[in-house]
Symmetry: C2
Subunit: 283 residues, 2 copies
């Protein structure tokens, strides 16, 4: 079922809750791919009812970013959601979500000073605002986010903790193409040549992973391996490569605890991100 109004969504969810049913929620910006599908399927497994929101949120795009060109195809998205088992697709207009004189902001500091937060000023304020609104509208038991946006997961978890929002945030693994490229709605921007060049992201992370498995614990050296690999690709322009603590997102010199290695790379004009978490006690 497609719902466009907050009021109708709320009343649908309230009727579920009166029956004692649990609600899972997958917030998306649409242009759904197998990554989103994996979130929806997991939500369907773990909850009685599942809501997917499809909303290209204007407040999380910078003035020179791709808000206008971001791919939109609600009919295709609706089909993907329903075939994955979602019960409701919430697809509001921007005017349904934001008043002209909106003046409330939700911000997470510190965690957003680095990575995409540093490179995309205001981005996470937009994410926190829309996610807090959506969580208040849907009031889910569990909400599902992809680990591809690792910083987003950390920021949302912090926001939910600090604001006592009564929801469990479930982070789900990155889904990749067969050749290793992390699935992303923005992959559709890539030309054939760029699509090939984009493999440098996952390849450089694989090298880092192998080096870590072989026992290297000097973050500076690991970073050098990644940078070297990325620099071999002429179409790639590095935005950031970091080695950070998984929880605090603080920079790490010697790797002694679980770390996150997130990278952001422009392939032509398209900015792609990828990452992996290295759990120190696993190996």
């Amino acid at each position: 079922m497609l719902i466009k109004e907050i009021k109708e969504l709320r009343s649908t969810i309230k009727s579920w809750k009166r029956e004692g049913l649990s609600v899972g929620f997958v917030p998306t910006m649409g242009a759904l791919h197998e990554g989103h599908q994996s979130l929806i399927k997991r939500a369907v497994e773990e909850n009685d009812k599942v809501v997917v929101s499809v909303f290209v949120n204007p407040t999380q795009f910078g003035p020179n970013e791709d808000f206008d060109s971001y791919p939109r195809d609600i009919n295709k998205d609706l089909e993907i959601c329903l075939s994955a088992g979602a019960n409701v697709v919430f697809n509001p207009e921007p005017s349904e979500m934001y008043y002209g004189d909106k003046s409330t902001s939700v911000s997470v500091s510190k965690l957003t000073d680095v990575l995409c937060g540093a490179k995309r000023p205001g981005h996470f304020d937009g994410v926190c605002l829309v996610v807090s609104k959506l969580l208040n509208i849907v009031t889910p038991d569990k909400a599902y986010f992809g680990e591809k946006d690792a910083q987003q997961v950390a920021v949302i978890k912090r926001m939910v903790r600090d604001l006592n929002i009564d929801v469990e945030i479930v982070a789900c693994p990155i889904i990749r193409e067969e050749d290793g490229l992390a699935k992303s709605s923005r992959n559709t921007y890539l030309s054939a040549e760029e699509r090939k060049a984009a493999l440098v992201l996952s390849r450089s992370l694989e090298i880092a992973k192998d080096t870590l498995k072989n026992g290297e614990r000097d973050a500076r050296k690991i970073k050098e391996f990644i940078l070297n690999e990325l620099n071999k690709e002429p179409l790639a322009k590095i935005d950031y490569v970091e080695i950070i603590d998984s929880d605090s997102l603080a920079s790490v010199d010697i790797i002694e605890r679980n770390i996150l290695i997130p990278i952001a790379v422009f392939i032509g004009k398209t900015r792609l991100i990828d990452n992996f978490t290295f759990e120190i006690y696993t190996y």
Copy 2:
């Protein structure tokens, strides 16, 4: 019943909700007086169950304000709440409410640029943070606030609207002492002489009200009447006197719509506030 932990409060409220009971909520900083009692009684009339929070919220006090000296007497407060018909008093420690590494903020801009927001930097950020947390913990159907803190009511209403928090904000009339002084927990700071001097707040507002009833519509003139009256009192030091639009809190020159006249005055070291709303179509 006194509850100190979020977990216990949530589970109590969830058991009420499972029975289909409605929940009213009165957030306070304790030091309860007849003003708070009137909120609790109204909540008891309008809801099946009522929660009162008693929490002197550190994040809404400035560094040179009265956080340490703010009156605290949980036993007396508990008695007042229960005798007014409340079911639960939530009295958390600051460490139950705030993590050491808290980094999420909730802000309302514009509405907080004036009045107490301008005079007490950060105050409303603290209010928005604690109220959004408490609303997420209690998930009430209705929450009750006193009109004495008129700007607070406007800010909370805006926050609730902008963040889609599913609660009705109920604003309740100012309760006064017999001689006209608005009830306030901070009245206990006043010496006998100051207590007498404090009457200048309500007296100056009464003069403004009479002038408005007599047809004066020039905000500058009304303001002058108030300032003249306040200036007659040697113990009074004016913090602000404003004539503003009830909704936008924007300054008004010619009074053509509903207005709010809020004042803040130091009596000795104690900062007191008072206000009234003039409804243009009432007279």
